[in-house]
């Protein structure tokens, strides 16, 4: 138990037009978990439940060993939370926010905060309402980073940021990685970021967890096969292949449970395998969502 900073089991939550069903995920200590899924999939709701801000209808949530939402006060001392729908006080300066956080948290690192101000190109004297969207996002993240919390829970930290700002944020996240006692859970629409820095990936769509596992193992399970079906040869339906698109004699097969013998199985049926390609997380994302929606409609 102490090896997981987040452990969610059997969590359900019903809203009028949306339902979270049987959510389960684990984040081991010292790892980065990336949460991906389409808009409205339930990422933000899941994150709020694990922060204790929303009370689940059923299921158990443990964060840093505390049961949520009962233990949220104790847990939140060590959690740094930022979400894209969160705002700071527009009429106050960034400096006021820094001092406010410093007055509450013992772990506040003032020198690190200063460095981050420079790195992010922000000035403490500025009022929040005078900042651009990207600067506001960086300001909110700065307030989280400078506390050096044991667990960072970030809901879309890089959404809406220009490439440079995104790079700055990712750089700080990888700095967190340097301490094997600290962990991160973040949700993102940017599959490239998730692919690059996550140790584990959780896929959520329409209130269900589709996949949750080790990133390398996950990426390894998916392949795109480029096939040629000579005249008269029908491509067989093979296990592990979730979709085939054919146009003329050329076809593309997507596998989500790739085994080394799969290309051979196609060749045995008379088809030729032109290439076996790895897929990017974005391509997997689209294939996964399309498949799970087809299954629902079927």
């Amino acid at each position: 138990m102490s090896d997981y900073v987040i452990k969610i089991e059997g969590v359900c939550k019903s809203y009028r037009f949306f339902e979270l069903d049987n959510i389960a995920l684990q984040v081991p200590r010292g790892t980065i978990m990336g949460l991906i899924g389409p808009n409205g999939a339930g990422k933000s709701t899941t994150i709020r439940i694990l922060m204790g801000l929303v009370h689940q209808d059923r299921g158990e949530v443990r964060v840093l060993g505390h049961r949520m939402p009962e233990g949220q006060v104790a847990a939140k001392w060590d959690i740094g939370f930022a979400s894209d729908d969160m705002r700071l006080y527009g009429a106050m300066t960034l400096g006021w926010h820094l001092r406010f956080m410093q007055s509450i948290y013992n772990s506040w690192d003032a020198r690190y905060a200063e460095r981050l101000l420079k790195r992010f190109g922000l000035r403490a004297e500025q009022k929040i309402k005078g900042l651009s969207h990207g600067q506001r996002v960086k300001a909110a993240l700065l307030l989280v980073f400078a506390r050096r919390p044991k667990l960072l829970v970030l809901d879309e930290p890089t959404t809406g940021l220009d490439p440079v700002a995104r790079h700055e944020i990712l750089r700080e996240l990888t700095e967190v990685m340097a301490d094997e006692d600290r962990s991160v859970l973040f949700s993102s629409q940017n599959t490239q970021d998730v692919e690059q820095i996550s140790d584990r990936i959780t896929f959520i769509d329409r209130g269900h967890i589709i996949d949750s596992m080790d990133k390398e193992a996950y990426l390894d399970r998916w392949r795109r096969l480029r096939l040629e079906a000579p005249a008269g040869v029908a491509l067989p339906a093979l296990p592990g292949v979730i979709g085939i698109r054919q146009s003329g004699r050329l076809a593309v097969a997507i596998s989500n449970a790739f085994e080394p013998h799969l290309p051979g199985a196609y060749e045995n049926s008379g088809a030729r395998v032109h290439a076996v390609e790895n897929m990017t997380l974005e391509e997997i994302f689209v294939a996964n969502v399309e498949r799970s929606r087809e299954e629902v409609e079927a």
């Binding site: 990888t174 990685m177 490239q192 690059q196 820095i197 140790d199 390398e216």
Partner: protein
């Protein structure tokens, strides 16, 4: 420093492995030298720990590096390791060349001619640059 290419279609861990092999082949990292820990390299590259871990595990399996419990990772203290890496690279490249040639419909003879021509051109260029 190590950089992941976004346009490179190969998985990240393979890119990392190749770059480490290059470092060793070029002589930047010598046999027996300590190399960055998995976590350290992950932070430096801005890449997940698990990806670097996988790269290290594969390299260890190939005998390119060794990890000593509690001490860290080192370049394998095998004086042939630089050569061995080059051998592996050559084998991979030849396989790729053979595959491409077959797809293009070249005969083994044609391929041989092309390799010879390329070899001559490359070695001539190197002689001139010396």
């Amino acid at each position: 420093m190590f950089v992941i290419s976004q346009t490179d279609k190969r998985p990240m861990y393979l890119q990392i492995m190749e770059q480490i092999r290059q470092r060793i082949a070029v002589g930047d990292w010598v046999a027996g030298q300590a190399i960055p820990s998995i976590r350290q390299l992950a932070v430096d590259m801005g890449v997940s720990v698990i990806t670097v871990k996988r790269a290290y595990l594969e390299l260890e399996r190939e005998g390119v590096i060794v990890t000593r419990q509690g001490k860290g990772s080192f370049v394998a203290s095998d004086s042939e390791v630089g050569t061995r890496i080059r051998e592996q690279e050559l084998a991979q490249q030849l396989e790729q060349a053979a595959r491409n040639a077959a797809l293009l419909g070249l005969s083994p003879r044609d391929l041989e001619k092309r390799i010879r021509a390329t070899y001559d051109r490359v070695t001539d260029a190197e002689k001139e640059s010396v």
